[in-house]
């Protein structure tokens, strides 16, 4: 049954690029917000150069990464280095409830588009800036990508094997964490404005947001002076706990035994009744002490099985286990299929494209994901003509100045 989407009344003017900002506004678009995304062909969104690409072929309109982060948004190409471009931006500020940007600090000020200036244009505007280290402090101008913010926030030193250099989490890790805080901040500020009529400025340091995912380790240091380091897949409380080889090339099985019952069940599944009363493994504490021996035993069993079958065997006995999925297996995963995690959208260049769906379900007002992210300048006419009400002559004149690029 058709319903009004929850955020149908929310208008976002979005200057963010690459991942952290766009991932945050994508969620708002899924639930009905009108998101106008400003891009420039003069200063191309780096996100357009990040894979995976359609058919593995790089190209500014081929990035599945960029499409995934921008589905459902409208796109306007605008050169902000020109005053006429900034005039258009200010008209969009008058239209918008929220302005988001993720440039390095000073960029918006240099264009006269900082919060102080935007307030003159629209007194109750909500503006959110998100960057690696925040708008102030000695590292404010440190620009870069989420992998560097992850390195400087401790995630790298905490990921990998104790006898090896840090492996680091995959990719631009803080770009996966920070967007949740961005979206929460925007929604909370909208709620406050609804009640009080007051807008505000939000300064988000992606590093400071992401540190909330390391709090136990940070407290361990502030309380005890202990600086935790990477420990592979060891767990302070659980054994066996790890990623074990499965049959085949680079095939793996994750197992995490959390209770005594699960340990006994694992002994049975492995057909090793001898282990269930082996004193080395009789209690959780004993298993933690003998975890290396235990890991060898579990690995000897796991490598004889293929990962999905072992997962099913273990889960049937209530033992936490999962095959370690790659993209191909994720695409075929019955659970993700059931949850409609993959959404096919019509795409003017590729016929269809696939993006991820909403990561949660609202029972009465589910997300609607119907339109691929904008190709460069796709919605210029709609945004200038319909949203801003510019005349065809004015739009043509703007195009002639080259500002719509």
């Amino acid at each position: 049954m058709a319903h009004d989407l929850p955020l149908v009344d929310v208008k976002i003017l979005d200057f963010t690029w690459v991942m952290a900002g766009p991932a945050a506004t994508r969620v708002l678009a899924d639930y009905g917000a009108t998101v106008v995304r400003i891009e420039s062909t003069q200063r191309l969104d780096t996100g357009r150069t990040i894979g995976p690409f359609h058919d593995g072929q790089p190209g500014v309109e081929h990035s599945g990464f960029c499409q995934n982060l921008n589905a459902g948004k409208l796109g306007l190409t605008l050169d902000l280095s020109q005053e006429t471009g900034r005039e258009v931006a200010r008209d969009l500020v008058r239209w918008a409830d929220v302005v988001t940007e993720s440039f390095s600090p000073k960029a918006m000020r240099a264009w006269g588009l900082d919060y102080t200036a935007l307030r003159q244009v629209q007194p109750d505007i909500i503006m959110l800036s998100t960057c690696l280290m925040g708008q102030s402090g000695p590292l404010a101008q440190f620009a870069g990508f989420g992998n560097l913010a992850a390195a400087i926030s401790g995630f790298f030193s905490l990921t990998g094997w104790p006898d090896r250099p840090p492996a680091g989490p995959f990719g631009a890790y803080t770009d996966y964490v920070a967007p949740r805080f961005t979206t929460v901040a925007i929604l909370a500020a909208l709620e406050y404005r609804r009640r009080t009529g007051q807008g505000q400025y939000i300064d988000q340091s992606q590093a400071e947001s992401a540190l909330h995912f390391l709090t136990p380790a940070l407290l361990d240091y502030t309380v005890h002076g202990r600086s935790q380091e990477r420990v592979g897949n060891a767990d302070a409380h659980l054994a066996p706990h790890g990623v074990y080889p499965a049959a085949g090339q680079d095939r793996w099985l994750a197992i995490a035994v959390c209770t005594e019952a699960q340990w006994q069940a694992l002994c049975e599944v492995m057909q090793r009744p001898d282990l269930s009363h082996d004193a080395r493994f009789g209690t959780r504490a004993a298993r933690l002490t003998h975890r290396t021996a235990l890991d060898t035993i579990v690995a000897a069993w796991s490598q004889e099985h293929n990962a999905p079958e072992a997962e099913a065997l273990l889960q049937a006995r209530g033992i936490p286990a999962s095959a370690v999925h790659n993209s191909q297996e994720l695409y075929g995963d019955p659970q993700l299929t059931h949850r409609r995690h993959f959404v096919q959208l019509p795409d003017s260049l590729h016929g269809t494209t696939t993006v991820e769906g909403s990561r949660f379900k609202l029972s009465r007002t589910p997300a609607r994901i119907e339109r691929a992210g904008p190709t460069l300048g796709r919605d210029n006419q709609y945004i200038l003509g319909t949203i801003l009400g510019y005349s065809p002559e004015r739009i043509a004149a703007l195009a002639d100045t080259g500002v719509l690029q």
Binding site: G51, N68, L158, F170, D175, L187, Y201, R359
Partner: protein, 413 residues
Amino acid sequence: MLSPYRVLDLTTERGMFCGQLLGDLGADVITIEPPGGSPARRFGPFYRDVPHPERSLFWWALNRNKRSITLDITSSDGQAILRRLVADAHFLIESDTPGALAAYGLGYDDLAALNPALVYVSITPFGQDGPKAHYADSDLIILAASGPLVLTGDDDRPPVRVSVPQAYLHASAEAAVAALIAHHERQHSGRGQHVDVSAQQAVAQATQSGILATPLHAEEFQRLSGGVRVGELRIRLVWAAQDGYVGILYFFGAAIGPFTRRLMEWIYEEGFCDEVTRDKHWLAYIELLVTGQEPLTEYERLKLVVEAFTKTKTKAELFRAALERGLLIAPVTTIAEVVESPQLAARDYWQRLEHPELGQALRYPGAFAQFSATPITYRRRPPTVGEHNRELYIGELGFTAPQLAALQSKGIV
């Protein structure tokens, strides 16, 4: 920002971060613990290494800005009390196995009948429905099932997780987003709804869209220590310094190529490479490698050149140069260095919370963002077990002291 709203937090360790986030934004969050305290209080590390429910750093990390009451919701008296609380609540958050609360008459349908405006948030490993909805789980299992694990670690060893559990923080933060979207809608419709958060789907965000490689017919990313392998290309992000490691985004193209060119200029200045190496076509270098115009062996040589250089510098020297020269370098920072960071100090990030029961103030990571009109405040340290029983049961629900004592003796509170 959320001060008019009350949140009932019934979560296990899986979901506690969601309520804390809403509490940071001002909501009145009441964590409802089983008598004796939440099982999550059994997770370490512990204050001065003494395992005790009132000393869990893990629990403290997830429960500031909340009040605590104890209540046995498996008893019918406890369920009746919870229903009274629900009548005046705006949000309820839970993270039990799908159907577990419904078995106590506390499922979404049951409680929506009492309070149609309730936003009822469920955080589970795989979502409320589907073939894996009842799977046994843990942090590691979710990471395996959702994609980032296979991409993380050394290519000659098993995939590896972040040593501090992450999966349910992703899910719980996503749940706060979802709760506030449902809340926004409630302002128009007057109605709540059931919010169903899947940790698997939330964590899939950490594949950086790599999850889409198969449907897009693209090459899958492969794990590589301190980097990523795409096809034959071994992209490296972590480099040895004199006193540890640094992250360098040593890559090419229109956006990143100029940074790499500046790095190579510095390396040349210090005598670690020749002019030909310095002056490669960094903006188009990736195309040169992909088309074979530049052999991959030359790219491998370049990485050795960079490493020979970085090994002669300290992390601080490399980072200072990054700021001065505009390079994509960041130190691989230890937890100790994070806490001592001048940047975080300059922004007044760390927040002290007085723990009177310890006679000590502890330093917590501070506001996740700075709000100009409504700054985030840490109003309450994480509560002790049932610290607010009297306040809630007598002060708000109108029980008398003898009635509360009776509930306590029956083990309901």
